[in-house]
Point group: none
Chain length 131, copies 4
């Protein structure tokens, strides 16, 4: 369900956050649903419960998840909206990346093609997954 690469420079707890967020967007963990428990994540992913707890707490602080001691942890109703809102704030960073690549001599045409191709693949994947 979520993949953890212990050798990645990205901290484990961040990888887990990213994985859960992705699953929320994909509809695997839809708003209102109950997340796997801390101990479950811990056991399946082979990481310490405290590390999982840290991820969950962070998600709760971001309003993506609501934890209810004794009951478990629910995806909040506006989680998807929050994630979409945040994505919009990342657009300037994308712009910066493109500029850096251009400065490094990547051809403009190549960049445009890459983006078009990615969009095309994404749409095909979505259809394949949905239909």
């Amino acid at each position: 369900m979520v993949l953890i690469d212990k050798l990645s420079p990205k901290p484990v707890y961040e990888q887990l956050i990213d994985g859960i967020e992705k699953n929320i967007l994909l509809g695997i963990y839809p708003p209102g649903s109950l997340l796997p428990s801390v101990r479950e994540f811990s056991h399946i992913l082979g990481i310490n419960p405290n590390t999982v707890q840290k991820s969950i707490s962070e998600l709760a602080a971001r309003g993506l998840v609501i934890s209810s001691p004794g009951n478990g942890c629910f995806v909040s109703e506006n989680a998807v909206a929050l994630l979409k809102e945040r994505a919009r704030k990342r657009l300037p960073a994308l712009e910066g990346t493109v500029r850096e690549l251009l400065l490094s001599g990547i051809e403009a045409e190549e960049l445009e093609q890459l983006v078009r191709k990615t969009i095309k693949n994404f749409n095909e994947d979505s259809n394949g997954g949905t239909v």
Copy 2:
């Protein structure tokens, strides 16, 4: 010449590396030229000499600069080529970012426009700066 933000989450030594690389690409530090000395960087940027040394060592390890003990540090002849080659390796990451944004509901059209606009601005800046 290089801007350092001590409060940035990005480590100072990485900021310096990025800055120097950018200056190499911009032709401010052309291949064969002598870089400012460690002490100079340290003094001007107000950062620790050890930190500057770490950046220089990393640049040397990447083959972008060549240290000549006693004489200083020169930009290597193939520095620009190396940087362009490395940029190419970053393209898959760009693809991943685009996919994430698409998954987060950003419209494909909006992404294409952003890229086109960035390219356009970049070309105008380049002309303005060069001519």
Copy 3:
């Protein structure tokens, strides 16, 4: 009769306690009256009977209700007096809150107005509800 928000950070058993206490003060559960049974609360509110039992036990420990095994649970005769006495003990906390808000730059005048307005609204609500 009592509203339970399962997603609230406040534990369910505390929410139930607060709700029952409020109903005692409002005269909905007057002293001497019989409270709904544990099963009734559990069923209507959709919460675990153990949770209801915990709330009732706590209320009994506070002297607000008296359990009569086999007959149910009665609001004690001095429940209202006890609640008023306890409210008095909360005044220092209110003072602390006010000090914190002042320290945070909230204007004294604004605080006084807020309190006056709340008192006014409360009196109007009471009249409307009673008459």
Copy 4:
């Protein structure tokens, strides 16, 4: 500098957050200043470094503090503004508390007096501290 009550029901890490926030508002830790280090807090307060770290991370997530690995942790320039903004959001809660106290039979006049007295004491304390 910050008082920790290990017997308090409030978690230690929250007490530390509150204490640091209070010191920021009091000007003891002014914006731009360097906070005591994690290990220092840990040693002085007699609590585990991880607990301190948790508090600091939370403050960083709130934008009140900017941590710079290797350098320490700085109070952000807009920390005071953020705290004041947050205080404003607590006003509705104060209103709710006042209503509860009124419902519990506390006299309106007594509440108004308490607030006035608290404001008066606060102003005197402020003058005493400043002059």
